[in-house]
Symmetry: C3
Subunit: 327 residues, 3 copies
């Protein structure tokens, strides 16, 4: 997982100390213990631990590293805290609500009403004063390049492209009318409405040599990176949801959609209009037929098709059987 | 159904009297009776009756209110006129052609060659002089906000968004590269070509707290409103066709498409890449699985999946049966 | 197939003589014979032969006209050259690589880092100094009209539309946020990455009276034209890949995708979210049901549905049979 400077994208509105947090969410607190006093300036996730951070831990999420002392935990699960021997925790009865309240207090982000960006108009595009674009890269007309964005060498950003909350490495092409780094579709189903979006404080990271077609939409991650690996090729009208990770050398045809937090290996080939559900793991060298609907994990080297997607041989058999019955 | 001032979006080109109409379409008239003389300044639909209006009534459309005296009717069905005892009618042999001819004479609209709008360049976006945007709302770069558009309080319109022929209430977020209020896909299949588009003289109405993702397309209605209810959440690359009505608290995942005139209840959940045919009624609290194709009405509280979409239990059974046969 | 002046879109970087070509690709050459000396200034394809051209012939591609003397051939197949009695040929071991190297030397194109275009800002849009737009046509805000583009009479280009490498005839409407003429998704699967895109040196040709909805993406051809025939109507969020040919009077609903090099006849109707594989031939008057996946050629007048798409009667039968088994 690539690291990045969160505050260059999402400026800190107000600095909080670990002791201040309980009062922000007192309506939802069931039990707490804040043993240490430290300034909070980061967020942890189940993928990356960061110091001086808040870690919102859902009890359903597998947790992959040992807690260190200087982390504040917010969870529903007291037993877990005891077991992990963490010294700072707040047990709450509504994790998503607390996530919203606390992060809206700490960070400016683009779905709060205050935009915090200033633009220069350079060669027919709006370039944030707080972005960094290598001089070897070219940007077409009518683009917006937002706060914190970094664009490396020899990139080509075509026309009317919107890039926000993203880091682009070298030799990347983004075609016309595509959107990178917009808000992930994250919220609590029992509490809808634009005001209840979960703050999306991660970014999009596009690695060397990636090609992205026109009218695509790639959402930024909630906390870490939506990532597209080296030399991957994406066709037009593709939807990549938040937290998706795509390995190197992917080839993804038009109108494919990949739902949130799915993790794809290297050398993946996906046919047009296929869809992949969220929170899945797709192995290396997997081929997914056009119009497939993938709803389960797929092992390395598999070739799948159909909906629900299965081994392509089984799918072909079932197609033939269906035809025979019709005779 | 929300009301709106049609002429603020579609300026009146020329005022016609009920007595003038027959001459405009004389090639198509079979029989007529214009008993009263009145100025025509509105359009009626099978959902909303308006005074001093023209009502183009297709004989296949169910008709839900009593005709009043001051309405001019154009239809294929003489018996109907007699039965309803309407005093002003014109019977024609090509309803769509007459609709086109008459409305192109009465109204300016964006698919006739003359655009009737003037724009100010404000904070990097093109804002119609004839739009009304509350000062608490923010608009990003490269947007076009067209004639007649009303945007309420605390809305966030991101970058390169096009909003035309639309009313947005309060607390709405529209993400980058989305299009609201473009032309509905309406015409006579036997008479194609851009010149034969049916004038689309309705609007898009977005209610409080709605979130719309990036690269979406929401067409305006033919006569009334394409409507999205309070606190509904739409992901990216979604297609909402003309006259669609979506209730409150919908949650619609990426790349969903809803065809024209379909009516969805409250609290709908739709999975990614699902499609819903036109002219259907989908009840309240319905859940539609990802990649489903809905081609029939669905009752309240149903959970459906597959294509054609059926009860999700039946769909799961059929998936399992298909697998067994393959063994 | 429509003809066009390639160099008005893709300026010639350097003029090469037939004798110079071998040295550019010497690493890949197996055998060659250049009998005549002539300046190369065009490209041939299996659809159109052009004089003074290079013809990259894949041995799998059927070849439909006799070779003339002044053509340079590059292929893997020596026997073929002998049989056709062509006097100028180069036999190579990597056709796609040679295609890339040679054409990147001869032409500027938009996926090489140097953009070769200059824009005027006219009525809120960026119009290339090297484009030609009839004065009767209207262009909305925030559009980019690129080098070489020709737009005929009475066209309406709405807002934030990107048109590059395209010729539009008369009476055409292109709705908001659509992209015409972007790069076709062409490359060698064994050699991915933005640097290895095959140069796409063809155009998009849109014929009289075509309507294209919002947020669509239509890629330019590799060598010839992606073509949309007269009075065809395309809804929103549609993906048309490179080299696709669509006949007259097509009616294509929202979110349809058509993969590369597929050829559709006249009077086609395609339902929403349907997909058509690449390199297929679809006859005249064919109807394709919504959400179908077409993976085989379809004869004239057929009505198909399902995935894989079959005769609609068979599809309906299989749907009914599947339901019965569930009882």
């Amino acid at each position: 997982m690539k690291s990045f400077d969160r505050s260059s994208f999402f400026p800190i509105k107000k600095k909080f100390n670990s002791n201040d947090i309980v009062s922000l969410i007192h309506n939802y607190v069931q039990k707490f213990n804040i043993f240490e006093s430290f300034q909070i300036n980061e967020l942890s996730s189940n993928l990356i631990f960061r110091n001086n951070s808040i870690f919102f831990l859902d009890k359903n999420v597998r947790y992959e590293y040992s807690l260190k002392k200087d982390i504040l935990i917010i969870t529903n699960d007291y037993d877990f805290c005891k077991k992990k021997d963490c010294s700072n925790y707040i047990i709450v009865n509504n994790l998503q609500k607390c996530y919203q309240i606390i992060l809206n207090k700490i960070y400016f982000h683009e779905d709060s009403i205050t935009f915090n960006d200033e633009f220069n108009f350079i060669n027919n595009s709006y370039i944030s004063k707080f972005s960094k674009i290598d001089s070897s890269s070219k940007i077409g007309n009518g683009c917006t390049i937002g706060r914190g964005v970094i664009i490396g060498k020899n990139c080509i950003i075509k026309n009317n492209v919107v890039i926000k909350n993203s880091i682009l490495s070298d030799d990347i092409i983004i075609s016309d009318n595509s959107t990178l780094g917009s808000t992930g579709f994250g919220f609590d189903l029992s509490n809808l409405g634009s005001k209840n979006l979960n703050p999306q404080l991660g970014i999009v990271y596009i690695d060397d040599g990636v090609y992205i077609g026109s009218n695509c939409s790639i959402d930024r991650a909630k906390i870490d990176c939506t990532y597209i690996g080296k030399n991957s090729m994406l066709d037009n009208l593709i939807h990549i949801a938040h937290n998706v990770i795509i390995g190197n050398n992917a080839c993804i045809a038009g109108q494919v959609g990949i739902a949130g937090s799915t993790n794809l290996g290297d050398n993946i080939i996906i046919g047009g209009q296929a869809g992949i559900s969220g929170h899945l793991t797709i192995g290396n060298n997997v081929k997914i037929g056009a119009k497939s609907g993938v709803i389960k994990n797929i092992n390395d080297n598999m070739v799948v098709a159909g909906f629900p997607a299965t081994n392509i041989k089984d799918w072909k058999k079932s197609v033939i059987l269906n035809r025979k019955k019709n005779v």
